[in-house]
């Protein structure tokens, strides 16, 4: 038994050390950095100057950070409603016994295995392009005037639409897994009792998907707060207000931008801490709101 314990410790220790070095240390360092004035992210501690909560005051009074938070809030709420609704709809359809289920499932999921860079390029160059893009071609065919989909007033929504297109499949798969877990006899019993498909969906499927909703909303929240690549693709040379999100603001703050070499790793750390707290709060709220341990099936 004693020898077994030594082996267990021997195997766990490297993982534990790796966890401390690669996870806990950066977290602690980032939290500490957020209270100091630091130019370079890897500056020696001797070069740090204590700032108190100035970094937090700076980011919360920054119009760009406020805009970034507003953008991500809209992505979270409106994008979330669109993506989770469509994902749930597709999941219900694909688990209802339709033909070619595997094909449709693969087709809807496919954008997730294509590089987001390629996807964004496709949307920007081939769908939103003013002159030969798909949308304006359709409008032209209908005799309507084309639009600058990537102008300042529409760019955010263009980015959100393109992102939603690629994200549905991921959440759909999780919903499918949740629906398939529900015993078929519940539906059969409901059918015998006279419930139609819509009633079965709202009275049986939805309540039993509560834990899946919690998982999906948590994943979606984390994805929103780490939203980066699509924003970069829709503002390729320099960051634009219409598509800025917190992680892009963090990136620019820490590394500087085109034409401006100012860097502030302390403020960058403060942004990281704020985002981490938001994720924690969302997780806590979801756990409180959607309890999944009161239903057994």
């Amino acid at each position: 038994m004693k020898k077994n314990r030594i082996f267990i410790i021997g195997f766990i220790l490297p993982c534990l050390l790796a966890l401390f070095v690669m996870y806990l240390y950066p977290v602690v360092r980032t939290v500490a950095m957020s209270f100091f004035g630091i130019e370079s992210v890897t500056s020696d501690v001797s070069n740090w100057t204590f700032n108190g909560i100035d970094n937090y005051i700076k980011i919360f009074t920054s119009p760009t950070f406020q805009r970034a938070m507003r953008n991500v809030l809209i992505i979270w709420i409106i994008g979330g409603i669109i993506i989770l609704s469509i994902a749930l709809l597709f999941a219900v359809i694909l688990t209802s016994g339709i033909r070619f289920k595997k094909f449709f499932r693969a087709a809807i999921y496919m954008p997730n295995i294509i590089s987001a860079v390629a996807l964004a390029t496709m949307w920007i160059q081939y769908i939103y392009n003013q002159d030969y893009g798909l949308l304006n071609q359709i409008l032209s065919t209908l005799g309507l005037e084309g639009k600058n989909w990537l102008g300042t007033d529409m760019k955010f929504w263009a980015m959100l639409g393109a992102f939603c297109f690629g994200a549905v499949g991921y959440y759909m798969l999780i919903f499918i897994n949740g629906i398939e877990r529900i015993p078929a006899d519940l539906g059969e019993a409901a059918t015998i009792d006279g419930a139609n498909k819509v009633q079965q969906f709202f009275q049986i499927t939805l309540p039993l998907l509560r834990s899946i909703f919690k998982t999906n909303i948590t994943f979606w929240s984390v994805n929103c707060l780490t939203f980066f690549l699509w924003s970069k693709m829709f503002s390729p040379v320099s960051t634009e207000a219409s598509t800025v999100v917190p992680v892009v603001y963090l990136y620019d703050t820490v590394f500087g931008t085109v034409g401006n070499v100012q860097r502030d790793a302390g403020a960058g750390a403060a942004i990281g801490v704020v985002l981490a707290i938001i994720v924690g709060v969302i997780y806590f709220v979801m756990n409180k709101l959607l309890k999944d341990d009161d239903l057994e099936f």
Partner: protein, 425 residues
């Protein structure tokens, strides 16, 4: 027993893997300038070069060719690490931890601003090599002013202004490039009357153009001050500059769809060949040629002056440059290789391959860069990127949006634009 043996072996394999994964590659070795068997100047010297290019890009190919030729001549072996444009995100950390590399490339404002404590002073070596006669003084002056010493050598100069299709100008009978805003507007009207679209504009370069116009009107320092502190509405020059742009847009001189998404509008210069000009830096010419598969007859003229303007001569000029780490053990060999790249035959080769301005003024610019070297030679006080509009890092993105809206026709008057700018503070 058997299980224990397997467990020990697995644990040993894991530890070995960890140790191997964490190990660093051997750094630059050899003594500077030593020559033992081959008799070449740098036999046995190993240099590591962190490049902002990739090996597939023409700049990367030119660098590799230069390295091969340098090794043939001097015996020094250069190992490239192709970091790409994101090199700026890792350089600080790498330099602070004295990672083993000898040379690196980046924008010279970052070298002289962010990495200045970790780069070698090249002044003496440059003097000995006669670098002043093989480089544009304007960049050396900026480097010396920002860093306090020669912190890097210019590898890829860039210059901004109005790049135009000479064939369209010829077709419209415009024999003299415009020098004032009024002449510029007249030229645009002539082009429009001849069925051409005068100006391409992608939204990402809108602040560059408007920054130029503001710099001509009120000067770069005043623009930078406004960007930091606000007060745009109190400055008559801002209102006048915005009114000029509004007049330009309302006259229909922008290309169809402009301001467009980069690089759609500038590409029209090559694809449709009915768009005459673009306000940008010189790399726009090779981008358009490459994207459209054409070879336009490019020309460049300085951004027009405005009446009673504060600055009628300054030009945007920037550079990607090569610096040498302060802890490199082979600084002389590294400097000699840097000089090998940025002067003479290899510099010409790089300029031709990558369609860029040669770093050595004694070399000849490729056709797509026609006129750039003359503008650079005439520049002594370069404007920065976006001419002061970028001075406020925290407001850059919202300022950019407001400027793009100016070109989208969202403001009826310059005063409206100035008020919108002030609302950002």
């Amino acid at each position: 027993m058997k299980k224990k043996v397997i467990s020990v072996l697995l644990a040993a394999a894991m530890v070995t893997g960890l140790v191997a994964g964490c190990g660093s590659s051997s750094g630059s070795g050899g003594d500077s300038g030593s020559s033992d068997e081959g008799g070449k100047q740098y036999d046995g010297v190993e240099l590591t070069y962190w490049s902002m290019w990739t090996s597939a890009e023409p700049q990367g190919q030119a660098l590799q060719e230069a390295a091969d030729a340098f090794e043939e001549e001097t015996g020094a072996h250069i190992t490239f690490e192709w970091k790409g444009r994101d090199i700026k995100n890792i350089l600080s950390s790498a330099l602070e931890s004295e990672e083993s590399f000898d040379l690196f490339e980046d924008d010279y404002t970052r070298i002289t601003g962010n990495y200045v404590d970790y780069v070698a002073d090249l002044t003496e070596m440059a003097d000995a090599a006669g670098y002043a006669d093989k480089s544009y003084q304007v960049f050396n002056d900026v480097v010396n002013e920002n860093a306090g010493f020669l912190a890097c050598v210019t590898e890829q100069p860039s210059v901004g202004g109005v790049f135009y299709n000479k064939d369209i100008f010829d077709d419209c009978g415009i024999t003299e490039t415009p020098t004032t805003w009024d002449e510029f507007m007249e030229a645009c009207q002539t082009m429009k009357d001849n069925g051409y679209q005068p100006m391409a504009l992608d939204s990402t370069y809108a602040p560059f153009w408007f920054g130029y116009h503001l710099a001509r009107t009120i000067g770069e320092d005043a623009t930078a001050d406004l960007a930091v502190n606000g007060g745009w509405s109190q400055n008559e020059g801002v209102i006048q500059a915005a009114d000029d742009i509004i007049e330009f847009v309302n006259a229909g001189y922008l290309a169809d769809g402009a301001p467009d998404e980069y690089p759609a509008s500038q590409n029209k210069m090559g694809i449709e060949q009915n768009v005459a000009m673009v306000v940008c830096a010189n790399y726009v010419t090779s981008e358009v040629n490459q994207n459209s598969g054409t070879e336009l007859n490019w020309g460049l003229f300085a951004y027009p002056t405005v009446e009673n303007g504060a600055d009628s001569t300054s030009t945007f000029a920037g550079a990607n440059s090569i610096a040498i780490t302060s802890y490199s053990e082979n600084q002389q060999a590294a400097f000699d290789f840097a000089m090998y790249i940025v002067t003479g035959e290899q510099d010409q080769n790089k300029a031709d391959l990558a369609n860029q301005i040669p770093a050595d003024p004694n070399n000849t610019a490729p056709a797509s860069q026609a006129g750039t070297t003359e503008v650079l030679e005439a520049t002594d006080a370069p404007l920065t990127w976006n001419m002061g509009l970028n001075e406020n890092a925290d407001l850059m993105s919202v300022i950019q949006e407001t400027v793009v809206k100016l070109y989208e026709g969202s403001y009826a008057t310059g005063a409206d634009f100035a008020a919108a700018m002030d609302a950002l503070y």
